[in-house]
């Protein structure tokens, strides 16, 4: 009898735990969205600054000189075959190619916050364009 009662109590406790857990997991609020968007936009802004900076490379050339408002970067087409690299690559590979070549600078590591920022700005300027991976 005591054992049965114990089992029932355990079961009830377990169920309530599960129920309460589901109350927290996916329930993000409007405030959360605002906060996360603000954090995202701060990285976009950082990318905007880097994109227009004469210090990203070593010869004062900045990305926006050939890509005003990040045009002609076509982030929606990646991954794609990139002629200059001879293989299918992601956007960040081409960002590094540009830093090394027209900007004569050092490539960024893929987890460098600068790389994330650049990608954020480039894709943000192209927001709304449907994905077209592989498109040349």
């Amino acid at each position: 009898m005591a054992r049965n009662l114990r089992n029932i109590i355990a079961l009830v406790l377990f169920c309530s735990l599960v129920a309460s857990a589901s109350l927290f997991a996916d329930e993000f609020t409007k405030e959360d969205l605002k906060k996360w968007n603000k954090q995202f936009m701060s990285v976009v802004k950082e990318g905007d600054v880097l994109f227009h900076s004469s210090k990203l490379g070593t010869n004062t050339v900045s990305c926006d000189m050939c890509h005003p408002n990040a045009t002609n970067t076509h982030p929606e087409t990646y991954p794609k075959f990139q002629k200059q690299l001879g293989k299918v690559v992601a956007l960040r590979d081409m960002i590094n190619w540009c830093i090394q070549n027209p900007l004569e600078g050092e490539p960024l590591k893929f987890d460098d916050p600068k790389m994330i920022a650049l990608e954020a700005y480039i894709t943000y300027e192209r927001a709304g364009k449907p994905l077209a991976p592989g498109k040349h």
Partner: protein, 381 residues
């Protein structure tokens, strides 16, 4: 045998004419069979420099040729170091222009010789341009102007706007990159003002204008010119409205165009946009010159803002950034019966030719105007 071989290896003509080891059949070729035999396509759009002189009639002395080099953006880094890429572009244009035979009557420099208006940059550009074997007519660009408001330019080069006549054509040179005094005066330093004007996509930019003073001067200057006289206006920025966010724009374009309305044949030549762009508005043909330094995307590529890129334009081939000279170049222009034929010397690409079509009443690309003739590299998105 060895003497003969040595002889043949010396001067060119010797090897062709007197090589005793073989009889070379020297035929007098007609121009048509020559074109057939050579690897060069006979299409007008691919005429190499050497053949250009044949195709344009020299019978009318009012026909003449001039060259157009523009937007070199020479950039000073430090000391005697300039950005190598942009130096190379201008040097290449000067070298090729010197090869022109017959020589052009003059060369127009279309503006933006410097990148940040520095004396080092202007001096460096003047030194390179001095190697040209032909006289130069200068047009100022915003990158030359906004550091010192044109002071050094006027000191070293000349007036910011002027006119001249050449073989029956009236040329007008404008300073079309002026802007509102309030914007000019708001910056803490000339350098800050210059770098804000230098950034193409600057949200704190200010639109270009010709201004009432110049428009007045234009009216007066043109009052002495007859309606039938061909008029060519040369300015740095386009004298019509294409895309305001990047200052492919003239705020008082309509006023300027109104002054030109009464003339039969008007062509506006401009730089600034670093791309092939052409349009016809009323009686005026507008044609953009290439940059020697780098290409710009077409405004259609910025999906967040509306644009007015002329539908008439057949776009240049997309640039391959590996080859620095791709989508850069200069132009050879021929004035024939008051109309311009614009031969774009496109580096690393097949040349393009724009010719004014009398029947249609606007300039067309001689190879690619019809949509069915377009090629994939012309697709910009």
């Amino acid at each position: 045998m060895k003497t003969k071989n040595k002889k043949a290896a010396e001067g060119l003509v010797m090897a062709f004419d007197v090589d005793p080891r073989r009889k070379v059949m020297k035929k007098k070729m007609s121009r048509r069979s020559f074109l057939k035999r050579s690897a060069v396509a006979a299409a007008a759009a691919t005429l190499p420099l050497g053949l250009v002189e044949i195709s344009w009639g020299q019978s009318d002395k009012r026909n003449f040729t001039f060259a157009y080099i523009s937007d070199s953006h020479l950039t000073h880094i430090k000391g005697a170091n300039f950005v190598r890429n942009f130096d190379k572009g201008l040097k290449k244009a000067v070298t090729e222009c010197n090869f022109m035979s017959p020589k052009p009557d003059f060369v127009v420099y279309g503006g933006d010789l410097a990148q940040l208006g520095k004396r080092e940059e202007l001096d460096h550009g003047l030194e390179i341009m001095s190697r040209l074997r032909h006289p130069v007519k200068w047009v100022i660009g915003e990158h030359d102007y906004y550091l010192d408001l044109g002071q050094y330019w006027q000191e070293k080069i000349g007036r910011l706007y002027y006119s001249f006549d050449h073989k029956g054509v009236h040329f007008v040179v404008l300073n079309s990159i002026l802007t509102y005094d309030s914007w000019i005066n708001k910056w803490k330093s000339p350098q800050e003002r210059m770098s804000n004007m230098a950034r193409l996509d600057n949200p704190h930019g200010s639109p270009f204008m010709v201004g009432d003073k110049q428009i007045q001067w234009m009216k007066q200057d043109l009052s002495k010119v007859s309606r039938q006289t061909p008029v060519v206006v040369m300015s740095h920025s386009p004298l019509y409205k294409i895309f305001k966010p990047w200052n492919f724009w003239t705020d008082d374009a309509e006023k300027v165009q109104a002054v030109l309305k009464k003339f039969d044949k008007v062509t506006v030549l401009h730089g600034h946009v670093h791309q092939i762009l052409y349009n016809q508005i009323g009686n005026i043909s507008f044609e953009a010159m290439m940059s020697t330094s780098w290409p710009w995307p077409y405004p259609v590529s910025y999906i967040k803002k509306a644009n007015q890129v002329p539908r008439l334009t057949v776009m240049m081939n997309r640039a391959d950034p590996f080859h620095e000279r791709d989508a850069t170049g200069w132009s050879i222009l021929n004035l024939d019966d008051g109309r311009v034929t614009n031969h774009y010397k496109l580096w690393e690409n097949k040349d393009r030719i724009l010719k004014y079509d009398k029947k249609l009443g606007y300039p067309i690309d001689m190879e690619y105007q019809a949509p069915a003739t377009r090629i994939p590299p012309q697709m910009h998105y």
